[in-house]
């Protein structure tokens, strides 16, 4: 009779054991009580003895495998055991072992999911309330509509009212943050800036797709050299330092009586702290290489956070960069760090479709917000400065002596989907609707019914109208479907583009431009079919 | 018979008191002055008085729903009885019991009882207490021919007989269990026959004959006090009124009633006493007048008594 070797339960709390080493190989003879394998539990390695004598017929759980207790890990066969029976035993045991692990993983997922669970937003209120909670609410004069019930079926129970009361109490007494210390300095300097500077903010979107490529290449190289990675801030800082040298008026300090143009670029880098903000200054930034800049910024940022900056490192700034991109901000209106002339705000990087040479492309963009003091600088030079930065950032490769890439990321609407695929999706989508939500399908069909009603219009004309409607409702699938149908019905590409153009004119212009690009892609796709 | 003249007059007066108490009760009930059920003892006076004449202080009595006569015979106070019938605070039970539950523990009177046949085991228990204490007391249980069909009779008589309890079970066979004639509700003529099932004496006497009842009870009480165990006495009698006041008595004939009225137990005693020269007609008249006065005083007392305090509703449910 074959004997299943089970993962032993070696302690009260033991749930699983790891196979450390099999001390016998398959096919080897084992004697009951002989050491068979080593098992690692939470803390220690245990030797398990063979539970029976025979041949170690099959090792089910190989070395390294984590197996729940009481699950089979091997089969010991006895002389004379039938081969087919043995095979069956092995299969069953293997299935048991595998399913025990599957159960285990499944459980883990649910635990993880449970952790992620968030309090959903209430759509409607179940107005169940326990008598005890109601009494308390009445005593305290509380409108129970404000109390969220956590009892069975959303019943408001005493605990909920108490929690609400506590929250109310907390909310009544605002947390006081004193204007002493850093907060005070920030407040004073910001209001001073606001009071004195004639601030204007201009914004410009920069396509940093190339910069991204550059950074990737640089970091790959640096990694090979064992150096640290460079950040966008590092790259931008180097570029800004270069641009400042070219536009001295932006690298200036404004005083009541005069404007001081500074020879050295002392670049302030705003660092967000837990309870404030500090702007360490990178002196002589224009002389630093990218790697030096990167190391400097890392160093000051780290020390800013641990409060270890020297006082010189906080003085003498001529221009400041502030990056809120990591927090998702796009454009904003930064306040100038006096007596500096300007400050550059860096926004978040977003992926978007961009019309490039008449083609819609998938690009990565970022908004730069430049605030400047109009007392010292006028709009035009400021805009020129910003454009210069944009120019460098959009074509950074030569500056960094790297080969320019050929990044073209043609795009069909919907993130580069194949128009044919889109059409298939449309057809299956309609089928799905007919099955799962016939009401909606009927609604859609009735919308299109007048168009497709028998009458004077030809199929081609009807399909052209459908194209226009599809563009109007910005449905990628519908566009693919009807462009295809229109082409099939003999429509010329120009006719289709005209129909799409009508919708764009009605529907609000540029925002729809990309749908027209999609129409083009669909025409192209039909022609190459 | 060993009764003195005074004792005879005393017993006679008790019978007269019962008669007048009940006649007045009937009238008061008819006038709507007494609530609830009233079961009257008129016609059966000799039974209660004849049995009770043999009892001493310290003896116990378990009565029935038709219990006024028993209590008067035992020496109950008609003032307190009327007050109870009227549901007054001064009544025997503070107005909480009424006619069916009048009790006087000081007289060993364990109460009238609204449950037919319920007194039988109670009396056995009281008799047991006497025996347990060895105080020479006895317990008497009155019950009707109707009650003689209850299981309580069997259990109580069996227990009393095996334990030789000093108990006297007095069946007042007034021929009807409410409306059902004895010959319809049991297959024996004499309830006393039941005694043989328990190996105890059973005797059947004329319940309208004070002296016959007295003598039967005298013997039974003697046996009991001697430790010879219980006796079953059947007193054949008749209630003149219906089962309760308001009963149209359609189940019997006027002739039957008239025949029994001729056997009026009071008239029979009166004749005997006149014959014996115990009293004269005038003295008899005086007794009736005296009783009448006592009854009127009792009724006056009851009518002038306060109703129970509503605040006392929940009192006396438990002993503190």
């Amino acid at each position: 009779m074959a004997v299943k070797v089970l993962m032993p339960k070696l302690g009260l709390t033991m749930k699983k054991g790891k196979i450390a080493k099999w001390l016998k190989q398959e096919g080897q003879e084992v004697t009951k009580g002989e050491d068979l394998l080593e098992i690692i539990t939470e803390k220690i390695t245990n030797v398990m003895e063979a539970p029976a004598s025979g041949i170690l017929y099959k090792i089910l759980a190989e070395k390294g495998r984590n197996v729940p207790v009481t699950v089979p890990i091997a089969i010991i066969a006895e002389p004379g055991d039938d081969e087919t029976v043995l095979q069956q035993v092995v299969e069953e045991a293997q299935a048991e072992l595998d399913s025990s692990e599957a159960k285990d993983t499944k459980k883990k997922v649910t635990e993880k999911e449970a952790k992620k669970e968030v309090q959903p937003i209430r759509v409607d209120n179940v107005r169940k309330i326990s008598p005890r909670a109601l009494r308390l609410a009445q005593e305290k004069g509380i409108d129970i509509n404000y109390v969220i019930g956590t009892g069975p079926n959303g019943r408001v129970i005493e605990k909920d009212v108490n929690n609400y009361l506590q929250e109310l109490e907390k909310e009544k007494q605002p947390e006081v943050i004193s204007f002493e210390g850093m907060r005070g300095i920030i407040a004073e300097r910001m209001s001073e800036s606001s009071r004195n500077a004639a601030r204007v903010t201009i914004m410009q979107e920069v396509d940093i797709t190339n910069l991204q490529d550059l950074r990737e290449k640089l970091n790959n190289t640096f990694q090979e050299q064992g150096k640290g990675k460079v950040s966008y801030t590092d790259l931008i800082a180097v570029v800004v330092a270069r641009a400042l040298k070219e536009h001295p008026i932006m690298n200036a300090r404004v005083f009541a009586e005069e404007i001081e143009l500074c020879g050295s670029v002392n670049l302030g880098i705003a660092v967000a702290l837990e309870d404030g903000l500090i702007v360490p200054v990178i002196h002589q930034a224009h002389r630093l290489s990218l790697v030096q800049m990167s190391e400097k910024i890392k160093s000051v940022a780290e020390r800013a956070r641990s409060g270890e900056l020297d006082s010189e490192e906080l003085q003498g700034g001529t221009f400041t960069i502030t990056n809120l991109g990591m927090f998702g901000a796009e454009g904003f209106t930064p306040i100038i760090n006096p007596p500096e002339t300007a400050i550059l705000g860096i926004g978040t990087i977003t992926e978007k479709p961009v019309l490039k040479d008449g083609n819609l492309e998938r690009r990565f963009c970022m908004t730069m917000s430049l605030s400047f003091d109009h007392r010292a600088v006028d709009g035009a030079p400021a805009a020129q400065f910003l454009s210069r930065i944009k120019e460098i950032l959009e074509n950074p490769h030569p500056l960094f002596q790297m080969e320019e890439p050929n990044i073209s990321r043609p795009l069909a609407a919907g993130g580069g989907k194949d128009p044919n695929k889109l059409m298939q999706d449309f057809v299956s989508g309609i089928e799905w609707l007919n099955e799962e939500a016939p009401d909606i399908a009927v609604g859609f069909n009735s919308l299109m019914a007048p168009v497709f009603a028998e009458g004077e219009l030809s199929t081609k004309e009807k399909e052209l109208i459908a194209v226009a409607l599809s563009v109007y409702i910005k449905c990628e699938y519908c566009i693919s479907h009807h462009v295809h149908n229109a082409m099939a019905a003999g429509a010329e590409p120009d006719e289709i583009l005209e129909a799409a153009g009508v919708a764009v004119a009605f529907g609000g212009g540029p925002a729809m431009a990309y749908t027209v690009t999609l129409v083009k892609e669909c025409i192209k796709a039909f022609c190459t079919e | 018979m060993t009764l003195s003249k005074e004792r005879l007059l005393e017993l006679y007066k008790k019978m007269v008191t019962i008669r007048q108490f009940e006649e007045n009760a009937a009238e008061l009930f008819a006038n709507g002055e007494i609530p609830g059920f009233v079961h009257l003892y008129i016609g059966e006076e000799a039974t209660a008085v004849g049995v009770m004449a043999n009892l001493e202080a310290g003896d116990y009595i378990a009565s029935t729903h038709r219990g006024h006569g028993h209590l008067i015979a035992r020496g109950g106070d008609v003032k307190l009885m009327y007050a109870e019938l009227f549901g007054r605070k001064t009544g025997y039970c503070k107005g909480k019991g009424g006619s069916m539950h009048i009790a006087d523990m000081s007289l060993g009177f364990l109460g009238a009882n609204g449950i037919v046949g319920a007194g039988l085991p109670l009396a056995a228990g009281a008799a047991f207490a006497c025996k347990y204490r060895g105080d020479n007391g006895v317990a008497v249980c009155f019950f009707g021919d109707g009650a003689s069909n209850r299981g309580t009779l069997h259990e109580a008589l069996n227990l009393a007989s095996i334990w030789k309890l000093p108990a006297i079970f007095v069946c007042e066979n007034n021929m009807y269990g409410i409306s059902m004639r004895q010959e319809h509700h049991q297959n024996i003529k004499d309830v006393a026959d039941r005694a043989s099932a328990y190996g105890i004496p059973g005797i059947s006497v004329d319940g309208n004959d004070l002296f016959a009842v007295y003598e039967a009870a005298e013997e039974a009480v003697k046996r009991a006090r001697q430790g010879d165990g219980p006796t079953l006495i059947e007193c054949k009698t008749y209630r003149w009124r219906g089962h309760f006041e308001g009963d149209p008595t359609v189940y019997r004939t006027d002739e039957e009633l008239e025949a029994w009225k001729k056997k009026d137990p009071i008239k029979r005693v009166k004749k005997r006493l006149l014959d014996m020269g115990v009293f004269t007609e005038e003295e008899d008249m005086a007794i009736w007048e005296e009783v009448k006065k006592e009854i009127q005083e009792g009724i006056e007392f009851a009518k002038n008594s306060p109703l129970p305090d509503e605040a006392d509703l929940l009192e006396d449910v438990y002993c503190d």
Partner: protein
């Protein structure tokens, strides 16, 4: 403190009270030489003789009726009705005679009897020997109803019951007879109408009687492992009922689960639930849960009886549904 069984505790209480008060005597079926069907009165016949430990015929009516008469005549009878299921045979003597005499007689009588009887299922004794009929008696004004769950309670409460001047229905759970527990040294009493907190807790109040107290305590252990602390209250006496202790506990926990072995419908648990709703509605943070036997006679087969009886799991489930 000595550890004795529930049965020994009752026996000891009887013995002590018979020694103390010569008016106390015992009567019932097979209580004498035989020592009682469950052995509760063992040894009493030897000590007190046939005058005070009386074997009766199988006459429940006479047992209780005579007890009531003897009590009215000044004695303190302690009759035994072998199984609570037989109470129907002597019900009139209990509820029309014993219970009402004092009131009917305007407070001029007292009926100090303690009717001992055995309730409860678990022995496979089926429908006529397993019932818990406490609710019948708690419904009758004039009766006191005692239902102890431990040896210490059984002894102290039985002594108090015998000394009480009112008729007391003293309900012993037959499955508890063998359960041991410590009891105080020497003579002591436990007042009738005082509940006992068998375990303190803050998350839910569980009111349980007799056998169910033990099941509730077991459930409490399991629940505690999950961080739920229940307060287990044993009323011990259903009439008079210690409402204050229950209400105070519900005030603390806001939740109430009532456990009884008796059939749930019309049971005493309903009375507690109604009382708390009437007098402590505002204390409740969740609906009251009642646990009791289903609406069927007690079955015979062991597996059926197990399903029939409320258990630890039922209590755990009910508590979880309200916390």
């Amino acid at each position: 403190m000595p550890e004795i069984t529930y049965l020994e505790a009752i026996n000891a209480a009887l013995k002590e009270e018979m020694r103390r008060d010569p008016n106390v005597f015992i009567l019932g079926e097979d209580v004498g030489i035989f020592g009682g069907c469950f052995g509760v009165t063992q040894g009493l016949y030897d000590e007190f003789g046939p005058e005070r430990v009386l074997d009766t015929p199988i006459s429940e009516t006479a047992i209780i009726g005579a007890s009531v008469g003897a009590a009215a005549a000044g004695l303190r009878p302690v009759p035994e009705i072998m199984f609570m299921d037989f109470m129907g045979v002597c019900l009139d003597e209990i509820f029309n005679q014993a219970a009402k005499m004092r009131y009917m007689f305007g407070g001029r009588a007292k009926i100090p009897i303690t009717v001992r009887t055995a309730c409860g299922a678990g022995l496979g004794a089926a429908a006529q020997h397993s019932q818990s009929l406490e609710a019948w008696f708690a419904h009758i004004p004039g009766l006191k109803v005692v239902m102890p769950s431990t040896p210490a309670d059984a002894k102290g409460l039985l002594v108090s019951s015998i000394r009480d001047d009112n008729p007391v229905i003293f309900i012993e759970h037959k499955m508890l007879y063998g359960v041991s527990g410590t009891v105080p040294e020497g003579e002591y009493t436990i007042p009738l109408g005082k509940a006992d907190i068998k375990r303190e807790g803050s998350d839910a109040t569980v009111v349980a009687t007799a056998m169910m107290v033990h099941k509730a305590l077991a459930a409490a252990e399991t629940l505690a492992e999950e961080g739920i602390e229940i307060e287990v209250i044993d009323p011990r006496c259903l009439q008079p009922l210690d409402k204050d202790t229950i209400l105070q506990s519900v005030e603390k926990t806001g939740r109430l689960v009532i456990v009884q072995e008796a059939v749930k419908f019309g049971g005493f648990g309903g009375e507690i639930a109604a009382m708390v709703v009437e007098e402590g509605f505002d204390l409740l943070d969740a609906p009251i849960k009642r646990i009791g036997a289903p609406f069927a006679p007690v079955p015979f087969a062991t597996n059926l009886e197990n399903v029939y009886l409320p258990g630890e799991e039922d209590i755990i489930e009910a508590v979880k549904s309200v916390v």
